[in-house]
């Protein structure tokens, strides 16, 4: 950007970062500020509903190089509250590109602050934990911006899943498909649906508030609990619903927020990580085999526990742990056909190492049918 308008990011601890606004700002944007270390897949990231309510800092310095296209979004629109980058590429080149990232974000009125020392910001968030922040126009924070920041709620206790969830059920995939899956939408990514579809599934995506009875009435072969934003502990009624679904004995699979909700449902607790896991390079150990998977991750909360188990949830065993910090990355019910992972086997963006989990789920469904 040769000529932008000055802008800033002010964090709740008072730290100020200068930059340039890629497009004029209608009003200050306030949200939790998080960083992701993914080097590819910005369009998938920005459309991932799990990023709802967050200003995203890209540690990769050159963003926008390949533009945006019609195939890669993970939901209908950008979900992020704001974007902070070192450089937003003014030009793009890719055979699938339909337009520039800048114009696409501007259309959705997502504020973009460029020319920021994103490494300083990342190090700040890493050492002090994630903070709320406000993106504003001008060289210095205005009182209005400060007021907005004051009023920004903490992510803890915030139910965002109910906000992003579909209002009405909808179907995905061929009506004639072999397997029927009911997917609870807490902020589901499209690639999860695509991967089920590839495995000969038809999916009924239901609102997060759907009761167990209503869901079971759809006669699913398997139940899926999706990823999503916000604090898992703040979603009203979710644990009760999940316990009701579990009682049916129908195989159940959870990803990310779904994983956290399963942990909560069976007696575990969740807590906020200091600065979360966001990126495509997190090593996860599969405890049964000792194998290491490189995984795509995007979460600020985690199920409390470790390789030895989840306190308060004797029926759950831990199947995966993060090799960087030892946090719980996967769990399985000891008796019921229920398992979940904290990371994103559907990737998009990120590595495909954990994709076989979808096949595992299909096997569980096959086994339950016999």
């Amino acid at each position: 950007m040769l000529d932008g308008t000055p802008g800033f990011l002010l964090l709740e601890d008072g730290t100020l970062f200068h930059g340039q606004l890629a497009a004029p700002l209608k009003m200050p944007a306030v949200a939790e500020v998080v960083f992701t270390t993914g080097m590819t897949g910005y369009q998938e990231t920005f459309t991932d509903p799990s990023f709802r309510g967050q200003i995203v800092v890209m540690t990769a310095p050159m963003i926008g190089n390949y533009g945006v296209n019609d195939e890669d979004p993970e939901s209908a629109r950008p979900q992020i509250s704001g974007l902070i980058v070192t450089e937003l590429s003014s030009a793009h080149s890719n055979w699938r590109a339909t337009r520039s990232l800048g114009s696409w974000l501007a259309e959705s009125e997502v504020p973009v602050l460029t020319d920021v020392d994103t490494r300083r910001l990342t190090r700040h968030l890493r050492s002090g934990g994630v903070l709320r922040g406000v993106i504003g126009a001008g060289a210095a924070p205005t009182d209005a911006a400060r007021a907005e920041l004051e009023s920004c709620p903490s992510m803890e206790g915030l139910d965002l899943a109910s906000v992003v969830s579909t209002r009405a059920p909808y179907s995905w995939g061929e009506a004639t498909a072999k397997t029927h899956i009911v997917a609870y939408d807490f902020g589901i990514k499209r690639n999860i649906l695509r991967l089920f579809e590839q495995r000969d599934c038809r999916i009924t995506v239901v609102p997060s508030t759907t009761s167990a009875l209503d869901a079971l009435a759809l006669k699913p072969d398997g139940i899926f609990l999706s990823n999503g934003p916000g604090d898992p502990d703040a979603i009203p009624g979710a644990p009760e619903t999940i316990r009701g679904l579990a009682a049916s004995g129908i195989p159940m699979f959870g990803i990310c927020l779904g994983h956290q909700l399963l942990g909560l449902s069976f007696g575990g607790s969740t807590g906020k990580l200091p600065f979360g896991h966001r990126g495509g390079n997190h090593p996860v150990k599969e405890l049964a085999t000792g194998r290491v998977l490189i995984t795509s991750q995007n979460h600020g909360f985690a199920v409390q526990g470790g390789p030895e188990g989840i306190p308060g949830a004797p029926d759950l065993e831990v199947t995966h742990v993060n090799l960087n910090d030892g946090t719980v990355e996967g769990l399985r019910h000891k008796l019921l056909p229920i398992f979940a992972v904290q990371y994103h086997p559907e990737a998009a963006p990120g590595p495909h190492d954990a994709r076989p989990l979808f096949d595992d789920f299909m096997s569980e469904i096959g086994a339950a049918a016999h």
Binding site: L2, F17, H18, F35, T37, G38, M39, T40, G41, Q43, E44, T59, A60, P61, M62, N65, Y66, N69, E71, D72, T86, E87, S89, S90, A91, H92, S93, N94, W95, R96, D115, D117, T118, R119, R120, T122, R123, R126, S127, G279, G280, N281, H282, P283, K285, G290, R291, V292, I294, L323, N324, A347, A348, P349, G350, P351, H352
Partner: protein
């Protein structure tokens, strides 16, 4: 741990690195002898490039590994053969559903012609099992096809070439992959080539991470790479996979896979901070990735994929100026000799820093003053258009000229295939230049913006028509200073304590000063002819020595191929271009006790004046002493004062002055520009016409860039002396006698330590003179003096008060690390206190031989001269000169024949000298062949030989004899202008047929000694540690 390597210039072959170090030829025969002697459990062939892999395969195939129960680790024989054999590889890719270039294999020229029907033109020719794509190329027509295929068949050890349909214009990528024996796989780095398919990746400007791939495309590539490492079966270690992507539809094609550490792995290690070779070795001996800690963060495991929050650009460095006539078109055969790497926060910043770090006189993306220097015949737009279609080292600058000339990006893309995204980046640089020029005044934000795009003060100064110092002053006044960020493998996600740093113009600096006494060591920049890893060796030894003495050591270098840029060699590493601006900023930040400039070759020396002017303390020998040695007039005065003979000489700032000087001195004269390393543009001139011609073609002179004119001492012996001084005590490190006579650049001449043909009294004279020079110049550190002996007079040729190219060779021979001691005396220690006061004469013979890139520059006449052309060196150690020389020759790839035919064709001057040599070959049972004059001369003196026609006169001539396999050794000294063409075709035939040849009689005599040694006894192997133990205390 037993190491086998014949290269003395690396840290690796220092005796402390391995338990046993064999400086022996890396050939199946010698490695077998080492295995027989050492009985190792395993052989690790994946760290030594193609050479190591080929030797390992040979030992596997001839049953040696099985015989001695040696396991191949890292990659097994099956994996190596699948990866290397084009046919097997293609089949393997088909099995896992991946596409390879459509190609077919030829083992004869006839097969090749049949395949040409299928490939059409352009066709890609890739010989199997060669290094750096050697012998390969792109053929645009039938003539080129025939030439390249023949050469490729010649060079492939299994006489096999792959002929492919061209993917010209496709985008090229590489992934570095690692796998452990538990089948965990990680991708270390993605690399995108700026130059599209058709240019060898070693010759391409490359960028990490990949810039223009969506996640979908990247993950496809990642999945493919993982499938490939599993299918090929690299059990524990690393590999490198190259891909081509069709820019029109994303089609992915696998180009090749190297089941070993490669040039790109080295780059990827530096680009990410992930030590691929070190971790690969641990994987090979059985560790898993999650068991190995990430050495940079110390808190996270190695089982992860590095993420970058910066952009890395690698730029190749070429040496075509050294090989006039050689074709500088870039093809699938690698032609570069070195590379720079730069790190920036954006592509633009890293790109400009990378170009600047090349040290080729461009401070960024700058066009040359003259069209010719940008590879253009003239200033016309048509020439520019035409040039854009051919990849050459200058094309990147031609793009700038094209943009300035109004050629649009679509056309540039159509001609050069650079991705439009890169062209847009270049446009931004151009627009920024225009805006900066047009500004009424320079503001801080404007300055910062330019610096963030990687513009050097020098470039900005040129844009505003001021000088560099003024622009720097302006920048400082505006408070625009660089900040330094860490390379930490994790984009800041985890804390890191490894100060591997690069500059940028962001807000926050990391790794503050520690307050310890610190020393900055300036490295030697990209490898080039005349300045290779020998200098890096010196810098690394210095860093290690000073670290051990409790100093904080700070390395500055821009060369990813070196040990000095390993993040743990020094306490702090600044991966930065070695220009005054970058060095001054680092000095300002670090406030060191001083800067070491005498170990990194010419690169740091060029900065001395600027550093001194800025008040930076230079450790060791004073800048003034360095200047005396370089300044002809001042040096002459000192030599005269010390009573040391110099060849008659003069200095000229014009052609006329040079002619006058040459007349006074007498022809032949040696002419060269002052202040050069590696004998750049140095030439022996026999008459006035040639001298005029030299000024016309080779150099541009000016008042401050004079040309030196020296008497050329024909047939003199030359010697190099390396010594160390603490300012009081001077100790000789070693005296090396050159094998080739005067007139051959010392870097290209083989040399022997200790000397074997120079009279003891002359050696003493050299010792005395060296001590005198060191004292007179006030040397503190290293000094190198070159002498020539003619008619019992010892002449001084030149004095270099700095570390020389031979320091590693001498250090290995005498068992004393001269560079380490140099660093210690520079920081105030005395040799007496360190305990090195006496010259050490080792009770064995070391020979150094130069390695040349002639096979890559086929058009060039491979004759040695005063301009250095070698790109590396090897060492041979034995108890006799003959055997040491034989080993060095073998290590250099010049296998010597033990029987067969010797073809002698020498000029009249050399005839008396060649007689005894011919007689010895005759007595050893060789068949002699000679051209008429030489044959008659020999016959008259009782040495029989077969008369062979001169090439231009009749058939069968020498070339025919060589092609027929009748000649095993060619002894050819230049016959003068008239016979140039004859000589040239003979030497070319020798290279093509891999026939041993020498172009000097002294080398021929040494070869004769070596052949005697090889025929009379079986070569034995012995480790460096064992040799050094025989040095008397």
């Amino acid at each position: 741990m037993i190491l086998v390597n014949s290269n003395p210039a690396t840290i690796m072959t220092d005796p402390e690195v391995a338990d046993r170090t064999y400086i022996e030829p890396v050939t199946p025969e010698y490695v077998e002898r080492i295995i027989e002697r050492e009985r190792p459990d395993a052989l690790l062939p994946t760290m030594g490039g193609q050479t190591a892999l080929n030797v390992a395969m040979a030992l596997h195939e001839n049953g040696v590994l099985e015989k001695y129960g040696v396991e191949l680790i890292g990659a097994n024989a099956r994996a190596i053969s699948i990866a290397e054999d084009r046919k097997l590889f293609g089949e393997a890719m088909t099995r896992i559903g991946l596409k390879c270039p459509e190609g077919r294999i030829a083992t004869t020229m006839e097969e090749a012609w049949e395949i040409a029907e299928f490939t059409g033109f352009p066709a890609i020719i890739r010989p199997a099992f060669t290094l750096g794509g050697s012998g390969g190329g792109v053929a645009y027509n039938r003539e080129e096809f025939e030439r390249i295929v023949r050469r490729g068949l010649d060079e492939s050890p299994i006489t096999q070439v792959l002929l492919e349909r061209s993917l010209l214009g496709w985008k090229e990528y590489e992934l570095e992959v690692m796998r452990d024996h538990q089948d965990n796989v990680v991708i270390i780095c993605s690399i995108e080539n700026l130059d599209p398919m058709g240019v060898h990746t070693g010759d391409s400007i490359t960028v990490a991470p990949a810039m223009t791939l969506t996640d979908r495309e990247y993950q496809l590539m990642r999945d493919a790479a993982i499938k490939i490492i599993r299918e090929i079966g690299v059990d524990a270690g690393g590999c490198n996979v190259q891909f081509a992507v069709n820019p029109a539809n994303g089609d992915l094609i696998v180009i090749e896979m190297n089941p070993r550490v490669s040039r790109s792995s080295a780059l990827a290690s530096k680009a990410t901070g992930f030590a691929i070779a070190r971790i690969g070795t641990k994987l090979a001996v059985g560790y898993t990735l999650d068991e190995i800690p990430n050495d940079i963060t110390k808190t996270t495991p190695a089982s992860f994929e590095p993420v970058l929050d910066y952009v890395v650009v690698k730029v190749p460095r070429f040496a075509f100026e050294k090989f006039p006539g050689a074709d500088n078109t870039l093809t699938t055969q690698m032609k570069s000799v070195g590379e720079s790497m730069a790190i920036g926060r954006t592509f633009k910043e890293a790109f400009q820093k990378g170009l600047r770090a090349l040290e080729t006189g461009r401070h960024g993306w700058e066009v040359a003053a003259r069209a010719a220097d940008d590879g253009l015949p003239d200033d016309s737009v048509d020439s520019l258009r035409a040039a854009l279609g051919t990849p050459t080292p200058e094309r990147i600058y031609q793009v700038k000229r094209a943009m300035r000339a109004g050629i649009d990006d679509a056309e540039i893309h159509r001609r050069a295939f650079y991705d439009p995204w890169f062209l847009a980046q270049f446009r931004e640089l151009l627009a920024a230049e225009d805006a900066f020029c047009a500004r009424p005044e320079i503001t801080a934000p404007a300055m910062r913006r330019m610096k963030r795009m990687g513009f050097a003060d020098r470039q900005l100064a040129a844009l505003r028509g001021v000088d560099e110092a003024a622009m720097r002053a302006t920048r400082h006044a505006l408070g625009v200073r660089p900040s330094y960020k860490m390379v930490d493998t994790c984009a800041g996600e985890f804390p890191s304590n490894t100060p591997y740093l690069y500059s940028c113009y962001d807000e926050e600096s990391e790794a503050p000063r520690t307050g310890k006494r610190s020393v900055i060591i300036l490295g030697s920049g990209p490898n080039r002819i005349g300045q290779g890893v020998e200098f890096d060796y010196c810098c690394v030894r210095a860093a290690m020595a000073l670290r051990a003495q409790g100093f904080e050591t700070i390395m500055v270098n821009s060369n990813p191929e070196t040990v000095s840029t390993d993040y743990d060699t020094s306490d702090k590493l600044y991966f930065e271009p070695l220009t005054l601006e970058h060095v001054l900023e680092i000095v300002d930040r670090e406030q060191p006790m001083g800067v070491i400039v005498q170990l990194g070759g010419q690169t740091p020396l060029k900065l001395v004046k600027g550093l001194e002017a800025a008040g930076v303390p230079i450790l060791g020998t004073s800048p003034d002493a360095i200047d005396i040695a370089e300044d002809r007039r001042r040096f002459e005065a000192i030599a005269r004062e010390l009573g040391v003979a110099q060849p008659p000489n003069g200095t000229a700032t014009s052609v006329e002055a040079a002619i006058e000087a040459a007349d006074r001195i007498g022809y032949p004269v040696l002419v060269r520009p002052s202040y050069v390393l590696g004998g750049r543009a140095m030439q022996i001139v026999y008459d006035e016409a040639s001298l005029r011609d030299y000024f016309q073609r080779a150099v541009r002179v000016s008042e401050d860039r004079p040309v030196l004119v020296d008497a050329f001492l024909e047939d003199a012996f030359e010697a190099d002396v390396d010594a160390i001084s603490d300012g009081e005590t001077v100790v000789i490190g070693g005296i090396m006698q050159h094998i080739e006579e005067a007139g051959i650049h010392s870097g290209d001449s083989a040399c022997v330590l200790p000397p074997y043909l120079i009279a003891p009294e002359h050696l003493d004279t050299m010792r005395r003179h060296t001590v005198a020079f060191a004292k007179a110049l006030g040397v503190v550190g290293l000094i190198n003096v070159q002498y020539a002996v003619k008619d019992d007079v010892v002449y001084v040729i030149e004095v270099n008060p700095r570390g020389s190219r031979t320091v590693p060779f001498v250090s290995k021979t005498i068992g004393v690390s001269l560079a380490s001691l140099a660093a210690r005396v520079m920081t105030g220690e005395k040799l007496a206190d360190i305990g090195f006061t006496q010259e050490i004469i080792a009770p064995y013979v070391s020979v150094k031989e130069a390695v040349f890139p002639f096979t890559k520059f086929r058009e060039f006449d491979p004759i040695l001269g005063p301009e250095m052309r070698s790109t590396g060196e090897v060492m041979g150690i034995s108890d006799s000169f003959g055997m040491a020389f034989a080993k060095a020759e073998l290590a250099a790839g010049n296998g010597l024949p033990l029987r067969g035919g010797v073809f002698i064709t020498v000029n009249d001057r050399d005839k008396p000298t060649v007689l005894p040599l011919a007689r010895r070959f005759h007595e050893m049972g060789f068949t002699l062949m000679a051209t008429e004059g030489t044959a008659r001369f020999l016959a008259e003196r009782g040495v029989p030989s077969e008369t062979v026609a001169k090439v231009s006169v009749g058939r069968p001539n020498g070339v025919d004899k060589m092609l027929n396999g009748e000649v095993q050794l060619l002894v050819n000294t230049p016959l003068g202008k008239r016979a140039q063409k004859d000589d040239y075709s003979l030497r070319q035939a020798a290279i093509a047929q891999r026939i041993a040849y020498t172009t000097t009689l002294s080398a021929a005599s040494a070869a004769c000694d070596a052949i005697v040694a090889l025929t009379t006894r079986t070569p034995t192997v012995c480790s460096l540690q064992e040799w050094q133990e025989t040095i008397p205390a």
